[in-house]
Amino acid sequence: MDLSWLDDFLWTYQNVIHSVGINGLLALSMYVVLAVGQLSLGQAAFMGLGAYSAALMTLKLGWPFWMVLPLSCVVPILFALAIGLPTLRLSGVYLAIATVGLGEVLKALYVNIDYVGGALGLTGIPEATETWMIYGLLALAVLAFWLVARSGIGRAMEAIREDETAARVMGVSCFRYQLGALVVSAMLAGIAGALEAHSTSLISPGEFGFEPEVSILSFALLGGIGTPIGPVVGAFILTLLPELLRGMADLRLVFNGVIIVVAVLFMPEGLVALRLRRRSA
């Protein structure tokens, strides 16, 4: 069978295909925090930390990609701990505020530090990301989250999300689950950042600010956070839609913002309102 058309197709649309998958990973990293009833607005910031640290490891240290990719989650995890440890003991708004702040501050730092390329960012990053890596990781992450959601940990997470007080009364350590979720989320976002940096071969501070951050939230809320599939579907739709409707590029962000408002006000279950099926306990 002649599959050369598939090669052509993949080659032409490689950027779109990559960004769809990477956005899927980011949506999952948002999902895991929302799943424990917290709101982190630092996904883009964690992604930026992963992207910048990976790009620096490749460009300045010359390390191979198979080493860089797993290591790209180290810096995001450290930042997640520095912010998560104090804020998760407080009410939910503190994590949200601190993570928005983190994004703004990192953007300002990237612009002002010449070593990381200033406002222009880093260029000439070798294109080491393969499509199978992105989708392999995405499939792996969905599968892992699905299994976790069906396990006892998933029950605990759902209990925390529905009613933190009740969960605590039942002996669930909310703090530990929430910190764990934040760390996993930072890890995923960091790796997504490394993949992104080695896919587009250039990164700049503007890619990791408030707008991309809120867009990631819109992926998760459009899909709904009942299952790990929902956010990924949301990311696919919201990444492909602007590609199909070229004319509305200007209004893409307005649209993403409106989706969040509508999702929270009118359809809290999301578009993919699937319920996880579990054996009754």
């Binding site: 912010i83 104090p86 703004e104 409106v258 969040i260 408002v261």
Partner: protein
């Protein structure tokens, strides 16, 4: 040199305090982190810009226009987005998420509508002359900013402490349900608080636009980081704390820019925010409070 920088820092801090005041008031009474607050700031600056350019080039008229315009927008946003959630008794993160989405939509729409260019208030709106006090230079604009901030803060404190409306607002902040049972119209109080907070943000927007001579659609977003630092360091919902923390932040920023590197301003303020969260999460001036589930 140091004296000049301290004075500049205090003057900058006065606008930060003014900006953060409405933000912390909104949280204190309505129990909502309202991220659209940054948009009210931008809206005030733009209202002042269009008013001075097309109607009358007067600072004294532009300030109330900016405040009222932003206040009305704030009231509309609160009514459209948050009233429904409040009535439903939705968790605080739902309302936070709604404002996150709304501010992205509003900012992007403003940027698409007005272009992201930097605009300036008309030349000659305030005289460019400056005054010299023992070697410390203060411009007319800075004087105006300081004077307006003092008047607005004074008016807010009078409203909250010296009037019946203020008693109602403080009662709603304490316990909305009990306040409602005592015959306070909580819906109207929420609208009033939104208006007052929005007006403070709008006035702040115009004053910062005047001080830095730059108005653009993303100015509110850039300001929000300062707002976060001030309200966390001062203690969420603490008005006196926000005033002190605002002044402190202004001084810290100016000193960082003067003695370390102006590119490190944001990083230093954020480091302070994280440090306060680690050590005194209820703010520098608040009593430590245990987490209530």
């Amino acid at each position: 040199m140091l004296a000049q920088q301290l004075v500049n820092g205090v003057l900058l801090g006065a606008t930060y305090a003014l900006f953060a005041l409405g933000f912390t008031l909104m949280f204190g009474v309505l129990k909502v982190i309202n991220l659209t607050y940054g948009f009210y700031f931008t809206a005030g600056a733009f209202a002042a810009l269009f008013f001075t350019r097309y109607v009358v080039a007067s600072v004294w008229l532009a300030l109330p226009v900016a405040a009222i315009a932003a206040g009305i927008i704030a009231m509309a946003c609160d009514g459209l987005l948050l009233t429904r959630l409040r009535r439903r008794g939705a968790p605080e993160l739902s309302s936070l998420m709604v404002t996150v989405g709304a501010v992205l939509a509003l900012n992007s729409a403003a940027a698409a509508l007005f272009s992201p260019d930097i605009r300036r208030l008309p030349v000659g709106l305030v005289s460019v002359e400056s005054f010299n006090f023992w070697g410390v230079r203060v411009t007319t604009a800075q004087f105006l900013v300081l004077g307006a901030s003092i008047v607005l803060v004074g008016a807010l404190i009078w409203l909250l402490r010296g009037t019946r409306v203020g008693v109602a607002i403080r009662a709603v902040a304490e316990n909305p349900e009990a306040a409602g049972l005592m015959g306070i119209n909580t819906g109207r109080t929420a609208a009033l608080v939104s208006f007052v907070s929005g007006a403070l943000a709008g006035a702040g927007g115009m004053l910062i636009g005047l001080n830095f001579n730059a108005i653009h659609p993303y100015m509110g977003e850039e300001m929000m980081l300062r707002g976060f630092v001030v309200v966390i360091v001062g203690g969420l919902g603490d008005i006196r704390g926000a005033l002190i923390a605002g002044l402190m932040l202004g001084v810290v920023e100016v000193l960082t820019a003067g003695y370390i590197d102006s590119g490190m301003k944001e990083a230093v303020s954020f480091a302070i925010l994280v440090l306060v969260l680690w050590t005194r999460p209820s703010g520098l001036f608040g009593a430590p409070k245990l987490r209530r589930a």
